[in-house]
Symmetry: C2
Subunit: 715 residues, 2 copies
């Protein structure tokens, strides 16, 4: 890619961004779109906009985002979101502090040399941009000392800011858990691997007597986990009929015009998809179905609670400290029985995973790791092909009929700039679902944990395949002789391939922040979908609410995406310092725009009190280590004699990670007692705590609670 196509790419990206900003300013000021642009505020019962519409200028949202405090974010979107901003802020900080030294020092050093002319390894692709990079330095030159020192500078800045961030997040988590309001999960533990019931004893008696012995004063009651898959299904059926009834009634109401005051009773067919079968009156039919399903559900509930009890239970305590302490204490002499776990939020529980036994969980975990490793390795091949073929020259060769298109210069430049990146982005969109399913198969008991696990896998996938794959793939296809000469020197091969791909990644980053964040802010796609649905599909209020439900921030895929940028920017920071401001812009814009989205749009679907942070921290460290090792290799390629003095850097990083894990991590893994011991403002209503954990398909106001005694214990 030459310099002009780089500038074109940058320019078009920027223009798209500006257009999207204007679109946003226009659309978001129309009250009809409020549910798309301010759903979080609406759901929280707040006015969509503070101060009304009149006095508002189109950039107020920037001011609001900038002036919002972390406390606001926690209040509106929870600790997890606040932690995400700590992540964005920390990386931004690292890049700004690094850039303050790197840009003024390294760019002049690089541009005044002309090493590339004397080097034989560059294979004719040297562009203007490369003059600003380390590739332009004469081998063995003393100028390399400047780059060497900058390697240390970036690392040290990272250590300091990461340390502060970890400390801050730990404090945030502590404060949130300390809060004096009653959170049901803080009064419960999940116990798994309950041994078989002795003859003549019920599961409930077994669990109750076990915990009553250990916690005579604070044990409240227990809830046996049941296999309520079938009840869930019936319950969903019931909910479906209820929705359809509401819809039919709404249609009926609407049909009562002045001309036809009686209205037309809607009808439907009972057969497949409502297309075939006999025609019936919808309202009557659905009422009938609802009554039938309720009877079915009640019968199934009884069966479930009595006969489908599993080897897991939720135990409730009347004291927060005791629950916290119980969640981390070893209860049984045999560790694969009565294993406990701090209860997650009820909505996060993955019920079907609770019954999986101890060693089966272990085995599943390793099997999944193996499958993921295979996936990562075998995706490498297609990505390498894509990155080699999606240059315009290759496409023209393969598809001669697009030649006329390529002749138009502007279009050609645009295509050349974006083709590989678009291919990559589409390609990556396919994977997260698969990884989440795989992670759930590990037997992980909570939603947030599964998302973290999937996110970690996705990170390794993106780094290995996108970053290393594209870099090496380009080189392997470009200079096959390199492979022949040194098939084993992966690091130095990677290192020597880096400069050649700098502009690719520069464009990638720019595309991601301008177009990606532009789309994010303007919410064009949700807006269009919402208006289409509102016009053609939605009949009832409930359906309308569903149409604009904003969803959550999408931690699981957002973080690995950002981490890929972190990895790219770290690895290029010293080689091609020009990438640093782009990275800073990515995280700065991201912070600003997502701040707006977090405060006004997205509604978190769970709260894990910042448990994502240790994962983010470790992934940033992994990127840092990759960067340090790559730099070690690249200094070797540049034949710098003092390159071995970089060896302490990765060791330092590992030590730093080790110290952080020792000092901070346990408080993320387990509830700490000093936090749980904080006084509550009211005594918890234990019945409400207990009810919070009843799955919706098993809760029922109609049936008397006495009927459920089989799976629950007396107070």
């Amino acid at each position: 890619m030459d310099f002009s196509s780089f500038l074109t790419s940058l320019g078009t990206s920027f223009i798209i961004f500006v257009v999207l900003m204007i679109v946003f300013a226009f659309l978001s000021s129309r009250p009809g779109n409020n549910v798309v642009y301010y759903p979080n505020r609406i759901l929280k019962g707040l006015e969509p906009l503070e101060g009304g519409y009149k006095s508002r200028n189109p950039f107020t949202w920037i001011k609001e985002a900038l002036t919002s405090s972390e406390r606001d974010v926690v209040a509106m979107s929870g600790v997890d979101t606040a932690v995400y901003f700590v992540f964005l802020g920390t990386v931004l900080g690292i890049l700004v502090f690094s850039g303050m030294i790197l840009l003024p020092v390294l760019l002049p050093v690089a541009v005044t040399d002309d090493g590339w002319k004397s080097q034989t390894t560059s294979n004719g692709t040297f562009s203007e941009l490369d003059k600003l990079s380390m590739a332009n330095i004469t081998q063995k030159s003393n100028r390399l000392w400047a780059f060497f020192i900058c390697c240390y500078w970036v690392s040290i800045v990272s250590f300091i800011l990461l340390w502060r961030a970890y400390k801050h997040v730990s404090w945030l988590r502590g404060e949130a858990l300390k809060a004096p309001d009653v959170k049901p999960e803080q009064f419960a533990v999940v116990v798994r691997d309950i041994p078989a019931v002795a003859e003549g004893q019920t599961r409930k008696d077994q669990v109750d007597s076990y915990f009553k012995t250990i916690y005579p004063d604070t044990f409240y009651r227990s809830m046996i986990v049941t296999d309520h898959k079938k009840a869930d299904k019936i319950w969903e059926e019931l909910e479906g009929y209820k929705k359809k009834l509401a819809r039919a009634e709404a249609v009926f109401e609407k049909s009562k015009t002045d001309a036809n005051p009686e209205g037309t009773r809607p009808t439907n067919r009972t057969g497949l998809l409502g297309i075939c079968g006999s025609k019936v009156d919808s309202i009557e039919y659905y009422n009938e179905q609802i009554n039938e399903t309720i009877t079915k559900l009640e019968a199934e509930q009884k069966v479930t609670l009595k006969d489908k009890q599993q080897n897991a239970a939720i135990i409730f305590f009347s004291s927060r400290v005791v629950a916290a302490s119980a969640a981390q204490s070893l209860h049984a002499q045999m560790v694969d029985t009565w294993s406990v776990l701090a209860a997650p939020e009820p909505r996060q529980l993955l019920w079907p995973n609770l019954k999986i036994k101890y060693f089966q969980r272990e085995v599943r975990q390793y099997v999944v790791y193996f499958i993921v490793a295979l996936t990562i390795l075998f995706y490498m091949i297609p990505i390498a092909f894509i990155s080699a073929f999606t240059t315009l020259q290759n496409l023209v060769k393969l598809l001669p009929f697009i030649k006329p298109v390529v002749r138009i210069t502007v279009l050609r430049t645009v295509l050349e700039a974006y083709l590989p990146q678009i291919a990559l982005i589409v390609f990556l969109a396919l994977l997260p679902k698969l990884l989440l399913i795989l992670s759930k198969m590990e037997g992980i008991p909570t939603e947030s944990h599964a998302i973290r696990a999937a996110s970690g896998k996705y990170f390794y996938f993106t780094v290995l395949n996108v970053f290393i794959g594209v870099t090496l793939g380009g080189t392997l296809f470009g200079t096959l002789k390199t492979l022949e000469n040194s098939p084993n020197k992966l690091v130095s091969l990677l290192a020597s391939s880096l400069p050649g791909n700098a502009t690719f990644f520069l464009t990638y980053v720019a595309l991601k922040f301008f177009v990606g964040y532009g789309l994010e802010l303007s919410r064009l796609v949700p807006l269009i979908i919402f208006h289409l649905k509102r016009k053609y599909l939605c009949k009832t209020d409930a359906e309308l609410r569903e149409a604009w439900a904003p969803g959550d921030l999408g931690y699981g895929t957002r973080v690995p995406g950002d981490m890929l940028i972190v990895t790219i920017v770290f690895c290029y920071s010293v080689i091609a310092p020009l990438i640093v401001p782009f990275g800073a812009l990515y995280f700065g814009l991201g912070w600003l725009i997502l701040r707006n989205q977090a405060l006004k749009v997205y509604v978190p679907s769970y709260e894990s009190y910042g448990r994502m942070w240790p994962h983010i921290h470790n992934r940033i460290l992994a990127s840092l280590i990759l960067y340090q090792v790559t730099m070690l290799g690249y200094f070797g390629v540049q034949k710098f004699y003092y390159a071995p003095f970089l060896i302490p850097l990765p060791l330092l990083s590992i030590l730093f990670g080790f110290v952080c894990a020792k000092k901070f991590y346990p408080a993320f893994e387990r509830p700490t007692l000093e936090v749980a011991a904080n006084t509550m403002n009211v005594a918890p209503n234990m019945d409400l705590v207990f009810r919070a954990f009843i799955p919706p398909s098993l809760s029922s106001e109609k049936i008397d609670e006495e009927d459920f005694e089989d799976a629950r214990s007396h107070v």
Copy 2:
């Protein structure tokens, strides 16, 4: 070593053993020696012998040892000793079950082949014994299948018995901890890394308020750890003076004969070592000194309790479950503050280590590991030299003046048989102290833990240096050309060196059990020392008691010694199956004789409730893996095509170790709640529990407790 010298060695060992047995039977039946042969019974207030002396035949002790139950051992010597017998019994079981297949199958297979004649690698040292070993098998022969299958047999027997043993020990530990009598350590936790005290607050207030908040109902009181080194010193001085006073009074009493009814008042000199200085009346002088020292001690106690408080404390709870739960719960958000630990027995506490900070402990640990690794590596060189030089031929060459001695055939054979082994045993006796000191420097808080750590280091030392060192050393000096040809193939080098050293280790094992256990049972050395002391040194009863104090079983050095035998026997079991009965004899005799010693002689100096077992288990597994890897190498040396089918064995061992660690280990590391929740037979007297942890140098009946309030908290 040829066959006759092997038989001589065996014969002499056996004769020594028989003599020692007769000596024991004779000496132990004399009431004057009771304190040497039955001190544990005497200290427990039991009759030295059940049923008196008359009716006793000299082999009754064997019957008593065999009929004693595990419960007896626990009652007389504690769980740790019982676990040691589980170890002996398990290894004995493995060897017996292995031998039942190995001996009848492998010996005939080996003896009917004559592969050694056709092999060029054997360098003329082939002896009659080697005809019974795998070295006698023709290379690539199908007979190797028998050995191959036996490799699996030994491993599977080991897995089954180890699993049962681990389960049994876990049960033993649970039962002991469940016991309804009050153990002070079950009501306390040690807290370290207490953060700095806020201004205007005392350490005691800080600790008390912290724990009172978390445990409002069950917190009893706290005891701040102090630096009482100086008080200890004064206290020891005081005890010394008290002993000397008692001694002086005893001497004075004795001097009151009929001839001299007034007696002679003993005198001593006050200067260096009682040799110089002015002569004073001993009784008066010591009384004076005692009074002076008491004043000094009291002053020092006050200073210690007030001004020498450390950043550690012991916290007492009124509930066993709460203490158990507190010991394993995370208290502080920052893990390097307020770190807790289940309290050990008071006598086990290593007070000076309690104040060492979290990360300092980590650093110390790695530094010590590094030093130990160096020690292990650099001891290798002298051991290789010793094993090469301590053959008689070499000694004669080096020290020509011993030639006449060597001419006497009997002496020559004996010397030839024992010289290298004795050198080795003496050599190994020097190390354990050093390793214990190093382990304590790690910052380990309890005596038993330090001993375990030292014992683990000692195991790796013996295996690496004695076993591998001797084996390789012999080969390296014997056939230097092997080293030149393949310097990297350590495993196959080790494997091919094994058969040549089989007789060396056979003799080593025999020497260890016949002479070692003979000396152990007969207790000749302690007997002689006791009688000498009694006659010439002891004047008072207290001194006499000290003279026969039996000490403990010496876990720390005994286990690694046994483990070396386990390693040797495992590694040779299939190569030279003749070693299996020797190994079985070692552990059988060991079991019998130590059973007697445990029941009657040794007094345990601490109780860790079987926490040694996981270490033993892992070391046995490590031996097993070494054996499996060696066999893999040896089958390669024998050019057996199916050798790679042995690869699953070490992998299986690792998996087995992993499963055991997951299932059983946590219950050894932490107190389990179901055990702690067992009902007590009396409510604990919390004051006694508290007082049990006061170091002797700080406890004082005279001083009112109010004076000590600085470091202790109110009830």
